[in-house]
Each structure stands twice: as C-alpha cells, then as structure tokens.
Subunit: 397 residues, 2 copies
C-alpha cells in the first residue's frame, strides 16, 4: 500500500478550488486568468513532487517522472464548466499528483486542456494523441465570447510553444479519476465506480419541412405544421425507446427550434437535436434503427417530410480489464461497482493508444455541472487511497 497523505489530498483540492472560487464551486473557464494561474500553480506542485513539469502549446500541463518509463499516465483536467463544481476535473488531477508523490516513481501526470469544451472538443487529449491538426486550432474560438483559441494561447504565453505528443512505449496505461456526475454509486451504497466503458454518443439533427402559413386562416386539415411533425416523432420515441433501450441507455432532445417561431405563424420548418448514449454497440444499433423506423413511419403517414442528419456516432471506449481488476482489488469487492460512464472523458481518446481505466467517486445527489456539486471528505480520502493503491498494482503488473 503506497504511503498516501489524506490531508495533503484534501488541502490541495481546497487550494485548487480558490482559483476562480464561485459560491461553493468554481468558475474557471479554459484560459481565463484564474485558469492560467491554476495551471501555473499546478505545474509548481508537480515540480515540487520531483516531476519534470511543463505546459505545452495547447495548454496541457505535464509532470513526467524522470527517465524513460514505463509509467502509468494519470490525470484529468483543470478548467471547469461555467459556475460549476470544485471537483470535476480537479479530483483526477490531485489524485494523480498524490499517486506520484506517494509512489515516488513510475507516475506521469497530465492535465488535458479544455476537456470542458469552452473552445473545442477534447483538444488537449486529442493533441497529445495526434488527432488535432493545426488547421482545426486555427478555426477554434471561445463559444461564449468568440476569442480565437490562437489569441487565448498567446495571452497565456503559449504561442509558438511546441505541442507534446505521446512517446510510444513510455506509458503502460492511462488512469483517470473523476466524480461520477450521476447517482448510481449513491443509490447503490458502493463507494468506488470501476468504469467498464465510456459510452458512445450518437447525435442527430432532425428536420421537418412543412408550410409556413397563417395560424388563423389555415384550416387544421390543410395545414402542414413542421413543429407538430417533430412533436409527434418525439412522442413516438418516448413511447417505443424504453422497450428497446438497455438498462443504462439514455436519450435526450436538448434543443427544438420552430421557424419562424412566432405565436401566430404555423412553423414552416422545425429542427431538433437528439442524442442517445450506451456502452453496448448492439443497443446503439437497435436505437439507431428504431429512430430511422419512426422517421420512415412519420414520412409515410405525415405531411411534413422529415430528414435525419447524423452529427456524430462515436464508438464506446472500452476500459482495460486488467486495469479494472487492479482498481477492484484495491477497493475490495464490497466497495467497488462496475459501471459505464455516461459522460465523455479524455480517457476515451487515451484508450485509443494505450490501456485505460477510470475510477469514480460518489457525487452527492448526483449533481454535476453546477456549483453545488460535491463529494464527502470521507469519500474523497477513500477514493485517493484506492486510486494510489490501484496505480501501484498497475505498475507492478
């Protein structure tokens, strides 16, 4: 059992939470002043821990063990969602740092920049794994204020700094700790989530075309209401998906737009964003087929042609079985619960290049992406103990 220090873990987490403190959480958007300060502070902590610290040209913060390895690569992310929780990302960073300190060797730490997507999609871990071309960086800008990513990088002092790429053979695997962000652990009474897979997200833009017309003079029989066509489709999805879904499947319509969107005009066009998630490819295929069956059925019976555009169809990222075993062995069978991750994480990109694993700690009330997100100190300490032990076991294999 590595000699980890529970007080150091809690005090580091609390100190990190002072960067951008907001209510009981943090507001630390990528490349905001507080975020850049947090990156520098964290690089200092890595340095203190005897690691070779650096920040690369995409904003990733690294603390690599001296020598060529092999190592376990650990980490998560430092920035937060807007006005969000103090542990989302931060937990995995401090656990990685603590593992490096506790084991004294064989642990690399990385903070993947912008996991929270203020500028793009997993740009830090995609850069490290060779999936982020320069041209994409040229085109990215802050979603909220429009600042180009290049400008934000320059302001952070990172213009012209090379981006670090994965060194083949150095890492035995990648290990990310994270808050669960749901209520599965809390509901089960278990304390340690052993992630089996990061679910795939299949996303669609669904559009109906009707006839824009006067809401007073156009009879019900004559009108072609594109908004109503999508409401009926969503009703059918709501009716048929539960029987076809897996136990942990989720599906969501997060946006609907009716055009022109006026109270007295029949929508001539309507669109929505729909997604479902599951870790099982067969379930994904089944839900996809059902969506297309419902759209085809609507197009046979309805008067507003509906089209489906696929926005994304990721594959589930399977976590490494041996690394899962190491976590379970460290936790003991009574504390561990195997579960998929419904949220995306940098581990899904690292898993393409090396064995990867994730450990979850419980989220009080299942709350995520809100400043009230929290985990008890007891669970934070327990998680750190299991995490450090699991890293030691992974290194030993």
């Amino acid at each position: 059992m590595p000699d980890f220090n529970p007080d150091r873990v809690l005090s580091d987490l609390r100190e990190l939470a002072t960067f951008g403190a907001y209510e009981t959480g943090v507001h630390r958007p990528t490349f905001s002043e507080v975020d850049v300060a947090a990156r520098r502070w964290f690089a200092g902590k890595l340095e203190e821990a005897g690691l070779e610290a650096s920040i690369d040209g995409i904003g990733n913060v690294y603390g690599f063990a001296p020598g060529d390895g092999p190592t376990i690569l650990t980490g998560s992310h430092l920035e937060s969602q807007n006005h969000a929780g103090w542990l989302d990302g931060a937990l995995g960073m401090v656990y990685g740092l603590e593992a490096a300190r506790a084991l004294g060797r064989g642990v690399d730490v990385a903070a993947w920049c912008d996991e929270e997507g203020h500028f793009g999609s997993f740009i830090g871990s995609r850069s490290f794994t060779g999936l982020l071309p320069e041209e994409e960086i040229d085109g990215l800008a802050n979603k909220y204020d429009g600042t180009p990513l290049r400008e934000a990088l320059a302001k952070a002092g990172l213009a012209g700094v090379p981006r670090r790429r994965l060194a083949p053979g150095r890492h035995k695997g990648f290990f990310e700790a994270h808050i669960e962000q749901g209520d599965t652990l809390i509901a089960s009474g278990r304390k340690i989530g052993v992630v089996t897979a990061i679910v795939a997200i299949w996303q669609y833009r669904i559009t109906a075309v009707g006839e824009q017309n006067h809401a007073g003079t156009t009879s019900m029989a004559r009108r072609r209401d594109a908004g109503l066509a999508l409401v009926r489709l969503l009703g059918e999805i709501d009716r048929t998906f539960p029987d076809l879904a897996g136990e942990r499947s989720v599906w969501t319509c997060g946006r609907i737009a009716l055009e022109p969107g006026a109270p007295s005009i029949i929508p001539g066009r309507a669109s929505l964003l729909f997604q479902f998630r599951d870790a099982d490819p067969a379930t994904l295929d089944r839900l996809h087929a059902e969506l297309y069956r419902l759209v085809a059925q609507a197009n046979q019976t309805g008067r507003c042609p509906i089209t489906v555009e696929i926005m994304g169809q990721s594959r589930p990222a399977l976590m490494d079985p041996a690394m899962q075993d190491a976590i379970e062995a460290a936790a003991g069978p009574d504390l561990a619960l195997h579960m998929p991750s419904g949220a995306g994480h940098d581990a899904q990109y690292l898993a393409r290049e090396m064995p990867a694993a994730m450990l979850f700690v419980p989220s009080i009330g299942g709350i995520s992406h809100h400043w009230t997100e929290n985990t008890s100190d007891e669970d934070l300490v327990l998680g750190a103990r299991v995490y450090c032990d699991a890293v030691a076991r992974m290194l030993a294999t």
Copy 2:
C-alpha cells in the same frame, strides 16, 4: 347598381403595388419611406375623389365625405407584412376609394395605420376608437429595428399632429374588404366571403420546470426533463383537441424553447406559446377547459410542474347581420359564402363602436403573408362590384 369602374380598380391596385414592389408582391413596412409615400399618394387619390383628405397623428389616412353624414365608413390598411402580398390591406383601401367614387356621396374612407403590427397591435383603429393612450405610443418601437414609434411618426412629419377620434353618430357602419388568406372560398367554388365573425384568439404561455442535468450521467428514471414534459402535453392536445374543436377551430404552437438548449444538457426549463381560435364562445370555453384538464393531468402523473399563463383571451367580434344581408343580396346567393375570419382585422375594433361587416375575395392557393399571395383579376373586379353594390344597399337602409 352604382357605376363602378373595373379598370380604375385594377389600375389603382397596380399603382399602389409599385410602392415597395418586391418580386410579385410588396415590402412596405409601416412608416418605411415607401409606406409614407403610399400614404401621401393615397391621400391624393381621396382628394381627387372629392373627399376631405388628411393624415392624423397616428398615421391613419382619411378621406371623409363633405358634411356630417351619415356615411358608411370603409377601409382597411396600406402597409404590408415584410416581403408579402400586394393585395393584403390594399384591396380594402382601393375598394373603399372606388365605392366613394362610384356612389359620389355617403362614403368615408380610412386607412388604419399598422394593422400588420410592425410597431404595435392595431394602433390605427384603436386610436380612432379611443383605445390607444399616449403612454402606450411612448413605449412602442419597431419590432425589427427598434426605432421608437415617436421617432417614426416625427420622420413621417406627423409629430404633434392631432389624432382623429370617432365622431359619434356620423357612421352607419364600417365595411372592410380583404383577401380571405385561406382556401375556404377556393375550395367551395364561391367567390364572395360574407364574414360572420372575426374569431377570438386565446393565447397561452405554458412553462414546465424540471431539473437541468447532464444528458449522459443522469438515468432516465431519475431525470426530470422539462422539454419532454411539454412534448407529452402537446401530444395530448394533438390527441384530444380534434374531438372537442368546432368545424373551423384552429390551434397552434408557434414557438418552443428548451433551456439551456444544449445537445448534452437535459432541459431544466421549457416554455411554449400556444393559441387557439374560434368564433364560438362555447367552443373557446371547451378548448380552454381541455387545456387546463390536460395540464392538471400532466401535473398529477409527471415530474415537471407545468404552469399556464394566459397571454390573451379576446372575444369574437360579431359582424352585423343586416350588413351581412346587404353583402349577400349584392352578391346573389350562388356567389356568397358565410364564413368566420380566422385572422384579426381592424373591423374587430370598429365593431365595438358601430355595426361592422367584412367581405372576402378568394386567395389563390390560400396563400397569405408571402409575396406569392394573389387573386385573379376576374375575382378582384367581381369583388369590387359586389362591394360597391353592398355599400349602396347599406346606405339605403
């Protein structure tokens, strides 16, 4: 039979359509340069017809017959919706002008300003009937570019010009011609719509409150999706309203907003605008009761509280039976079809102060509020003949 001039009617309509010509329609928003020019041009035509022409402090254009009356007040509106048809409003103006010319006496003409609502709601006819306080004018602005109404009035040279008010006892009734804007006449083969009532519009803002959460980590069982709650409610409305509605009832959801509106966030709040229209108070009451029943049912079974805010509940404006008879007598029984107006018109405000009537001509394809709106020359001429004859009959009673 008054001596009306079909060529003069068509040429006046075509000349009016040159103000703001757009494709085969017009773009003549209230107080745009072309709209102000059209008002001046029309005042000139009224003057030529021997009427006392004026433009008042709200932009209404009047041509009043010399003397104290009694008269039939005629008219409609001169401005258009954006990029819309050449006859919507213009038809009723030229028919009124032609009736004044053909009868030579007893006909007043008025163009009610901004029926199309670029700045407000029926401000011209409400000003004339005493329902538009100065304070409301102070607060109105152009919906599209934000120009204050006071500024637009000043630019049109109307600052400080008094607003004309209804002179009690002068008018025997108000008579407005308009394109149908639907396909009832075309479908029936009849040529003259005799409006029985202008339908009431009952409008609601319906809001559901759920719990904003992560679309990946929140299980289906645990989530409270405000968007889904409204989709289910709209599905129930779609299912039950047809059996409760009247033959000509219409109901429409023209806008839905899910908050925060992101693909991966379960909507924590959702709202929509819903309206229904009918000319029959009992039908309106029945649909209103059903809406509340469905909301109560949703609140009993669902997990997202739904609230309903009444935005407006107008009363149907009944058209005068004797004036309807005059139109039918002028058209003859084979051409006339009694029908409600599904759209709002200035006649609904004039009907509060005097007997009022409306005559519809057919709209090709039922198209309205689009530049392709049209009516055949034959129907335009037939409508003018019936209109002038009906005015003569109204005056004679």
